[in-house]
Symmetry: D2
Subunit: 422 residues, 4 copies
């Protein structure tokens, strides 16, 4: 057992930390929600609205590439930086300090990362050439269409959107929502999970289709908000209607009926990314909390010397440090044994990470008073992100149910093997 990072990881952490301080953090104001951007010619607070990246993003990407901080996420792949999950994880943490800017600047932002992983693993050469290459170069963006409105999407058997084979085409009909990024002008690819055989046994009903965003019949209906935030700078979260959308059969990813398996493969490393970014988000909040505790005075003393403040700081440190170790262990397990063997740990971090980050960020908001809720600080946005991640890939309750059942099975095995005390 050894808790130290290897040399390459340490070098990349140093490099990335400097990039954050010198480029990413200063660029944050460019990513303000459009309705918070003042337009002095009109009434104050008027918005200059639009979906998509502000121009500074191109500069950040150039600098990231120059520094060798590009496509770090692709584990064990020559297309990426060749890092293991365990090596990438601490870098994902650092990008979490600024989740609206840094992951995108490094071409390591969801949902493009998951989509690129899918393509790298399962796409045909032609598909790779058309979509993976420009994604790796950040010339286009993509969206992932899985969740559906009106049904409990954590239960895959509820899925409604169909893709019927007609000759050498698939015809898609249905509706998706929470398609992050789909409102951006750069978004050219929708990765769509669709029911291709409703009569097959459950895990072979679905397939993944690659749908160009400008296909006829694709209607991006509207953006969804997350506690008032639109995430406009990343193309928002779209509701998308598919009405007789026709794509060539060659746009099928992998085999027909393998959609559920492919979707599953997309999850493991993605969870590591999300969870480590949450660790970083919590660290950002804790940093702000410490600054506030020392700088703000009330009733004659700095906040740090009053009431529960030190206790919050300590509790935040304790929770963050525990969480980080569990996520790193999960990354190590994925590297050593594969995502399937690590599934208990992947469930565990999905439960723990958003809650821990939410708690720390909430305490940071509380310490800042009303300012903590407003647009001058990143805290409200961080909070909304963390709270939202308690629903991504299924709500906490579904993950707890799954993990609870695994624990029961584990204990049964232990009892049978004579280990333990029963």
């Amino acid at each position: 057992m050894d808790f130290s990072f290897d040399k390459r990881t340490e070098e990349l952490r140093e490099n990335l930390t400097e990039f954050m301080a010198t480029h990413v953090i200063p660029a944050e104001p460019h990513f303000a929600e459009p309705h918070f951007v003042a337009d002095s010619r009109e009434h104050p607070g008027a918005p200059a609205f639009g979906w998509g990246r502000p121009p500074v993003m191109a500069e950040l990407r150039d600098e990231a590439q120059r520094r060798g901080l590009w496509n770090l996420f692709l584990p064990h792949s020559p297309l990426g930086a060749g890092l293991s999950n365990l090596q990438y994880a601490p870098l994902a943490e650092i990008t979490g300090w600024s989740p609206q800017v840094a992951p995108e600047a490094l071409n390591c932002a969801a949902p493009d990362t998951g989509n690129m992983e899918l393509l790298a693993m399962f796409a045909a050469d032609e598909q790779k050439k058309r979509w993976l290459e420009p994604l790796l170069e950040a010339r286009i963006r993509s969206a992932y269409c899985m969740t559906e409105p009106g049904v409990a999407s954590s239960d895959a058997s509820n899925m409604q959107l169909t893709a019927h084979r007609e000759g050498d085409q698939y015809v898609l009909n249905g509706r998706k929502w929470w398609a992050t990024g789909a409102l951006a002008p750069e978004c050219e690819l929708l990765v769509v999970l669709a029911v291709t055989d409703p009569d097959a046994e459950p895990r072979h009903r679905q397939s993944i289709l690659l749908v160009p965003a400008d296909t006829e019949g694709v209607h991006v209906v509207r953006g969804l908000s997350v506690f008032g935030f639109t995430d406009a700078a990343h193309g928002g979260h779209a509701e998308v209607a598919f009405e007789n959308v026709r794509v060539p059969a060659t746009h099928l990813l992998g085999q027909e009926g393998e959609g559920a398996r492919l979707a599953q493969a997309r999850l493991g490393p993605g969870r590591i990314h999300h969870c480590m970014r949450l660790v970083g988000m919590a660290e950002r909040a804790l940093e702000l909390m410490c600054a506030r505790a020392e700088e703000r005075t009330a009733f004659g003393r700095p906040l740090a010397e009053q009431g529960e403040v030190l206790s919050w700081l300590a509790e935040a440190r304790v929770r963050i440090d525990q969480l980080r170790l569990m996520v790193l262990q999960a990354a190590w397990l994925i590297d050593e044994m594969g995502a399937r063997e690590a599934r208990t740990q992947i469930s565990a971090i999905k439960i723990a990470a958003p809650q821990t980050a939410e708690w720390v960020i909430d305490r940071a908001i509380q310490l800042h008073g009303a300012a903590g809720m407003a647009q001058d600080l990143p805290l409200a946005m961080l909070w909304a992100q963390a709270r939202g991640l308690r629903f991504a890939d299924g709500p906490d309750e579904v993950h707890r149910m799954v993990l609870g059942r695994r624990e029961l099975a584990r204990q049964r095995d232990k009892a049978l093997s004579g280990e333990g005390t029963r």
Copy 2:
């Protein structure tokens, strides 16, 4: 001891409940945050931005007046409906089902209510004629300027904005924020707490001045957001700069040096209003939660039969019912003994109400999955309101400190008097 409402209260509750179902709830979509209003000619989700009430508000007000549901809030005053705090409280709860619409429709919305109370109690006749009358008739709106940026406003000694007497004028310089409603075009009056004598003993340093919103030197700088929400339909939350703002000395409210006392007088009944609305907000969330629990199916069973759902419903009921009783008791105490004697209870409900509402609303969001965070349901807005009220009139921590000290004093008295067990 008697826990039943009197006849008049019951009649008003019935009347108001019907008004909510037939007029207020159906009007809610008109109050959507502007950036969530789709404009189909442009890209989807584009905003039609502006600060101020949508036209439907005028219709709601007419109907409320017709029903005798107007200005119910003014306790014991002939200007209002002549209700006691205890009679008004359960009505405030019902308006809390739709806090963006109902209080305003009844002319019972903060900050106008507190400002009207101040004017009713302390204003000179000329001041009443100019501002109280149009406020009571909802012809104009007002804002309350107390909190300041950059300092801990819960500690009144930190206040920086000054009003110097020069001849028969006061000259104001400084900056306020969280001036709710100040961005609305109808806002004509700023009620401003200012330091008039920095050398006086602390509780006589401040005065309240009535500043017309269009006075030269008043700059409404920008709107502040609350977890992404602008509250634009109520005139937002403004940062306001005062640069050499001159008002006649006759715009002083009450006596010079009495600002702190007047501000305090504004608090008691206002807390009842806020807290009962929070009870209503929690009831709205619980109603939505129950509907969802029965209507949404996952893994073959309605959510109501799964996991922790029944437990959440029970816990919500337990918490709400306890909270309501405590707020009603505080209202009764204010009626019986005055706000000063009720100050322990007023602190207690300020601590309890936002937290309880936040908890219930958060559970309701969780039960709705990602939909709970988005604009189709009122939950995210309700949550942001409840969370924000944990900062109104000082953060929880300040109220806990105050209440903790009172408890120590109470126990000392009890020990001295021979009661208790020490």
Copy 3:
């Protein structure tokens, strides 16, 4: 609505408060757990063990009777003091300051109170004469045998102990536990819930039998501990085996098959008693907490000025005051509409009261450091009592399930009636 106590209640509260200060609290050391009583002839800390009341109890009872503080619990009955539940409730709170001594001193202690209520309502004259009279005079004690080992007793269909009718006798076979008081020498009556007709529909399967404690075949097997406490001074918590125990058929209480209904009738007022005592237990803990906060100094300042202490005191006050109001409202509802109509509130207080008391007592322990866990303070005992009451009459989870279902039904009714917002 009126939150003031009536005159008789106020007089009794004053009387009882004085009795507590002058007699009950000073007697507490006599009720120490026997294994903590030092015997200097042997090794220190050796116990002088035994089950049953210390002699001082007789003196306390005399004084309580002299003061008119005797049998206050029997609601609306000429056998008691003729108090309503609402009048008795605040007195039960005061006895909760010393739950090991005061209820017993006033002849208002469970399980005798519930057993006396049962007998008063349902017993034949002969039964009353033999058991109710001496119980009302505290000449004998009784135990209630409902819970069974090895099954989930919150699900009544699990009950195993049978009483077969043979001629003019019932023959009991089976095992009960958590029969509080059954180890005391004064315990002469076991009130036993037994299956008399296993083939009847569920709610008519059971009957209640009055079993003299010295009947052949009754074996008091052992005492059970509650977090290390034996409650020896009240006759402990017994496991009792019934082996061919024969009682005359005249020992049936009420009608055969009515056991479940009778057991239910026993619950409502008993919940008020338990819950108000828990309010009193929490008040005792808060009083100790305040004393400690002011008297104990660490790092140069009293604890009251450090960290979270004031916050705990405030939170304790907020929680206790809310709880008390909810229990009083439940008592009022039972008086006004009967226990059946008040069942939602009775479930609610069963959920809330033990948790609130547990929280306050736990904070009090924490503030006292290790001393809070030991025998010099009543806190550990109070904690164990409160924690144990989370299982009495079914664990929290069962009550939450029941209350959650009632809330769903209530909301369905509301939606159908057009009230609410759906």
Copy 4:
């Protein structure tokens, strides 16, 4: 970074796991609290009281020695097994499954372990020969006398017990409590922290003296209880009075004035032991919880399929796994950089471990119903142990205060170094 145990650790874990299953768990009933031991000649439940180990302990020790599971705790020392802290930590976890039996059986139980470490590091040869050797062979036991009644011992400046030098003797006067093990007949050594120079600067005021338990003037006054438990089988928790106790000056451990430093050195590895045992205690509770969830049926279904049960299991797994990693990391840090450099982590685990274990054990109790509180299951005892450890070496609040201050300092350093985002 590597999360796998080394080969020697794995072998010892397997060996110890077998020892637990075949010897330790079956011996647990011998360690029941004496007042729960039935004596059938008298009334049931009567105690057969005494302080000290039951005879089975000798057999367990023989078996542990035979298996090479003896004195594993002494890190990096030839006197022990030569294990590092990181190697010993997972073994301490396993002993935590049965904290009343296993640590003692392996001669790895507090307070003897800490005392042996102190002697191994700082004792003179003569002192080692007289006390360390028989302790390592378990021929005698020892107690550690630091905490004092009546003062906040977490603030070392409060210490009252003095040791005055008179000629070649020290004369001790004062009082200690929570001297674990001091009531046992085998206890021959008291390791006493005493003020030797009240006028020195704070950290040089104290010294450690080795006081034979039978010295004249040493009075073991009584045993203290922990939530009703006496821990009699380990010699209880004693209050000890020192009245003119004279020991030769050669009984000084290390140098005069070095007491605080020595006491500090005792803490680091001891925290690892405590915290890993708490991990094991939580695992034991979780194992019992899983068994109960599957075996107990209510309302027609096993508990595992009802309400919050799966959620509790999942949450328990998530919390335990995070905690274990943090404790292992702290052990690794002590090995790599020394206890001083690891002090942040040592504070962090002291905060996290008892709370986590308490939470898991409390849930396990809840799932067992009233049975969870009684003597048939180890849960109530485990709970009391975990709750008590929230006070050992200072209450949570003191550790949070310390850790909060360290976090502030860390963030200041980070800001100065240009890392981070400020």
